[in-house]
Point group: C2
Chain length 683, copies 2
């Protein structure tokens, strides 16, 4: 077996998932690296899946699995690929909203990757049961297994992107600061939020509109009382350099006369029960039908639905509830009621009484409901949903991206989704779902980020300040300091939680100053993002990817390499006025307070304790490299491609390739936009 190879092994008869773009012939020989064996049902004696396993040495480190809880190193937990609307990302959770079934195994003399292209339930026991064993079980048993080998972690990551295709390119304005909140319900409210930002000179490029803008939460509608002339409002906002970004949910309200429902029904675009009638479950608008995103015709129909909003001038969307989340089916709810009635007859059964809460809690996104409905592939094959569950959100993203292309193939649109599967990275970004105003979720974002990049999702970010729960001033400030570097820099919070817009706090100036750093860095961040996307690289990387021979670097969990020049090390602990940082080589620290107020400190390879007051955050630039720092700006339209301060240490003879383009055309070409900065300067 050569140094750089991808080998495909087929098991059973898998569904086409749209994950890969490189069609490799299936291997027939023995599978390297893994032991594969059927899972036998002890009752029936029949096969019910496939089990892969391999032994691990104490030093082995695991990367991958994209959007999951816990560390950069995934060793020591059980994960389950099963896309879930999970409201609480505690460290014991096995599933979040996405399934990214790529794992890299890296140890002394050991380096390979495995990718399971299988959209059903997969469990990953990565040293949970035994520290020295990994056991992966596919319930479907029908899948393509890819074994990736290469000379480095970075090369395997690149190979994986060759296999699965180029990452989504957002417009440049999507690198601006975005304000969001579940609850913005009218033009007037949004106008006021924008106005406060402009008044305080808090940079801003976008406003996310959550479900409140819709007419009774129905997709592709908007409340005419609250948004009497959407087109005019979009134009007004655009003149203010603000992009409106409405949400679209997966479910289509089952309401007679509601056009998306009527046209969807006519086109046969909804998922069906076994008897062919439409599957229905309640989500925000009440009972809904669920578009069959696995079907090409249904995708095309769904993509067309975006047109009225696109025609009103909207150029960005976020797709939600697409695991799909199910509040309840009538069937499941009736069973809960029956159980409650029955229980009421046994007042002395205190444990049964107590468990009624579990009965009603269990109604939501119940596994049995995912076995009730069916998809129809383009070949006319019917597939029960649970076998392809993890594809649903990804194929919704595909449908949306198709709608954009049909509407305007020349331009880029902003799109990010909650649920995803590998392959969706070609069509849109993702956010990390409904996190909380927890310090631990700040660190979780740092740990999730490189693994999402590894799986192809470059345009992503967490809800800054935390979605659920009440933020504190200091937590929002530290979240923003991380957000400065995230491609998607969005402050988002839930209804009924503390108001979270920056101007609500006594420390508004400090927070504004933090956001100015983002705008000064946009030329660099956009450049590095586009280079990563166009060369199948990663924007954020675990230190192990760049310093595989340095065992200390390989176990760093709260620092990340950023682009070709930098490292970040956010403060993730409350009341900390500094943090430890491990420098895998000499680096220059920029200790930012604002775009124009910072210290430069040159630091040698090794361990350092860095003092960082609440308003300070660091960016580390490798010795011998430099970065271009622009000026503060209040929106991306005014970010220019020149007038940079070049910040580096020992970087007199260095070149930096700045990628710059119009930020909006659909087909950028990396080489043509190359620009070289070459200047002699020291620290």
């Amino acid at each position: 077996m050569g140094k750089n190879t991808i080998r495909r092994y087929r098991f059973g008869n898998p569904t086409d998932t749209d994950a890969v773009v490189l069609k490799l012939p299936a291997e027939t020989g023995e599978i390297p690296r893994l032991k594969a064996e059927p899972v036998i049902d002890p009752e029936t004696g029949s096969e019910k899946g496939i089990r892969f396993s391999f032994g691990m040495d104490p030093e082995d480190i695991l990367f991958g699995l994209g959007e999951t809880v816990r560390g950069q190193n995934k060793r020591g937990h059980r994960y389950t690929a099963w896309n879930t609307d999970e409201v609480s990302h505690t460290e014991d959770k096995q599933s979040l909203y996405a399934s990214h079934n790529l794992l890299l195994i890296f140890g002394p003399g050991k380096l390979f990757g495995i990718f399971l292209d299988d959209p059903g339930r997969i469990t990953w026991d990565l040293g949970y049961t035994r520290q020295d064993q990994a056991v992966i079980v596919s319930e479907n048993g029908d899948l393509d297994l890819y074994i990736l080998e290469g000379e480095s972690l970075t090369e395997i990551a690149r190979e994986f992107r060759h296999l699965t295709g180029r990452s989504y390119l957002p417009p440049r304005w999507a690198f601006g600061y975005i304000q969001s909140r579940w609850g913005y319900a009218s033009e007037e409210e949004i106008r006021q939020v924008v106005g406060e930002h402009r008044k305080w000179h808090i940079p801003l490029d976008g406003i996310c509109m959550d479900i409140d803008y819709m007419e009774r939460f129905r997709d592709f509608t908007w409340r005419k009382d609250a948004f009497p002339d959407m087109k005019a409002f979009v134009r007004e906002m655009q003149e203010n350099h603000i992009h409106l970004i409405p949400i679209i949910d997966a479910g289509i309200a089952r309401v007679e006369g509601y056009e998306p429902y009527e046209t969807g029904r006519e086109r046969g675009a909804f998922c069906t029960l076994e008897d062919g009638s439409a599957f229905e479950a309640a989500v925000w608008p009440g009972l809904c039908c669920f578009p069959d995103f696995l079907n090409g015709d249904a995708r095309e129909w769904f993509g067309e639905q975006y047109r009225p909003l696109l025609e009103a001038g909207i150029d960005g969307f976020w797709n939600d509830m697409n695991e799909p989340s199910l509040f309840y089916t009538k069937e499941r709810l009736n069973k809960a009621f029956e159980k409650a009635m029955e229980q009421q007859k046994h007042p002395e059964d205190y444990e049964g009484m107590w468990n009624l809460k579990s009965v009603f809690n269990g109604v939501e996104s119940n596994p049995e409901d995912y076995r009730l409905f069916y998809h129809r592939t383009d070949d006319g094959e019917r597939i029960r949903h649970d076998r392809v569950h993890n594809l649903y959100g990804a194929q919704m993203t595909r449908a949306t991206a198709g709608g954009f292309r049909a509407f305007d193939p020349e331009h880029r649109f902003l799109l990010f989704s909650r649920s995803s599967y590998v392959g969706a990275h070609r069509n849109g970004g993702v956010w990390m779902g409904d996190n909380r105003s927890w310090w631990s979720h700040l660190e979780l974002a740092v740990q999730m980020l490189p693994n999402m990049n590894l799986c192809g999702f470059l345009y992503c970010g967490c809800d800054l300040g935390g979605f659920a729960g009440d933020v504190t001033e200091d937590l929002l400030e530290r979240f923003l300091q991380l957000g400065v570097f995230l491609p998607l820099m969005r402050n988002h919070s839930a209804l009924y939680t503390r108001d979270q817009e920056v101007y609500r706090f006594s420390t508004v100036e400090t927070m504004r100053n933090t956001i100015t750093v983002r705008y000064a860095l946009i030329p660099y961040l956009y450049s590095e993002f586009m280079k990563a996307a166009l060369t199948d690289g990663m924007l954020f990387r675990p230190l192990a990817f760049d310093y595989p021979a340095d065992p200390r670097a390989c176990r760093v969990e709260d620092q990340l390499m950023l682009g070709g020049e930098c490292m970040i090390a956010p403060v993730c602990r409350q009341n900390a006025w500094g943090r430890y940082v491990y420098l895998p080589e000499d680096m220059l620290m920029i200790r930012f307070r604002s775009a124009s107020d910072y210290d430069l400190v040159s630091l040698e390879k090794g361990d350092h304790y860095i003092e960082l007051k609440p308003e300070e955050f660091p960016l580390f630039v490798k010795r011998g490299r430099f970065i271009p720092l622009g000026a503060a700006a209040e929106y991306t339209d005014s970010v220019t491609g020149d007038g940079f301060r070049l910040i580096g240490w020992d970087a007199e003879k260095t070149e930096y390739a700045l990628y710059a383009d119009d930020g909006i055309s659909a087909t950028p070409v990396y080489e043509e936009h190359l620009k070289i900065l070459r200047e002699g300067f020291g620290q």
Copy 2:
């Protein structure tokens, strides 16, 4: 105002809480340090509590509040004193099982403490709403406010103990390793667990018996089929150097003919509804009555109930469910059913349907239920429970300790409780409640520990390995490494979770080696514990207490001073093979692998990255001091008071006062048991 003072200010007409032992006259002058003002109900215009507030400088650090989530420094969160059976100790939680209303404020030129002796609901906004403001609201409005001033944090801590009394003294065997699990249901099962420990030479001194040992979960009973001769079984275990530690819950099953219920009813020992009839709510045994622990006669009655178990030879107990936890009252459950029936009539109200889960979730420990019932003080005054809610567990502890004294005043008994209030520290220890198998809960224990010590609770510990959820091998190993230093070293886990006894894991030898270190340290740990208890000191302290002039030390969150010689710095992150440590002075690191296998490394004051393989953990000894290290032992009975290795650096001219006694007599006298080690040795 002098340097060391405690001043008491009285508001309204507070209930006697048994928190303080030093009866100070109430001050009449202006209150220093705080602004106090009535809370006015905006609707009625009447007073409904008192609000205390003070401004904070950016540098100010807050210690206190005992058993609460988050950091050693309590700044930046809202806490609510309201004892709660909280199943998930996430960082947003405002209440756990205990109320310890002491706060120390420490900043440049600023040092004072406040203690609110008020057993009702108190909210502490410590820089949540505004970073620079602390606002404390007592709902009762009836309380004693104490302002403590002193020359140092340590002195204020000592003053507080002078005010509230000497900490509980456990028997020495309680420093042994204790195995516990919800689920041990018979002699045979316990015998097997003990046997496995002995077979693997895993040290062991105690087995906790959870509710399963009881007859239908009824207090003070045991299952005769599973424990046919309790006295013989206790003796058999004692011969094996094992102490049995049964659980006792707060609620008494309301069952005709069940003796504790019958005698309690006769004595009028239960809490009552407004009409004088008994208050009933369901917990483990079904509907229960709740002893009125605020009443002296009821406490005496309850204390007597322990006698059958004490006579069987039991010498340790844990008191649980004493917040009190209420699964439901009939009233609350009926309301939930009514709501469900009503909801069923509105199938199109999808949000109402979805919210049924909240309806049933809200039945448990509902605030309204705590307003339903009454206590009767020794003076015959009736008090509604919610006004004294936070006293309930503490007064149960008091009742139990009284029962022990009545049975045998000459000896110490082990007692630890889930719920507590200041004052309970004189009568028993506490465990930190139902934590989870989370890495973050390992760190939480490190952060909670010094604040519990500050509030008087010296004998305490967390459930090693985590109570709820499934542990991994590496997490249990790191939990045990912390547990080596905790006074209560107990491995405990919940029914339906992964088996968590050390011998269940492939790494059993490593874990056993870790526990051997505990036994080698028992002479030192017991000595330091007893010195702390008998001199009103703290066993574990934030670094700020010992190095107040060192701003770096003051913000350290994951290290603790231990006794007079040591500092601990546990590894709390998964897959970490080391950690950073800040040394506030030169120290000798003992890197333990077992009682007999360790490295000694002398380290200078400052920052260090310490390599610590999964099986290694450090103890730091101050330069110029030494500690006595004993030999491994399989139970505390065989831990001897000599044959020590004396481990230190530059400690040739040092003395160490070893406290040693018989480990069981009720009235130890510190001075008489003093023993001086004085030997010349270097590293």
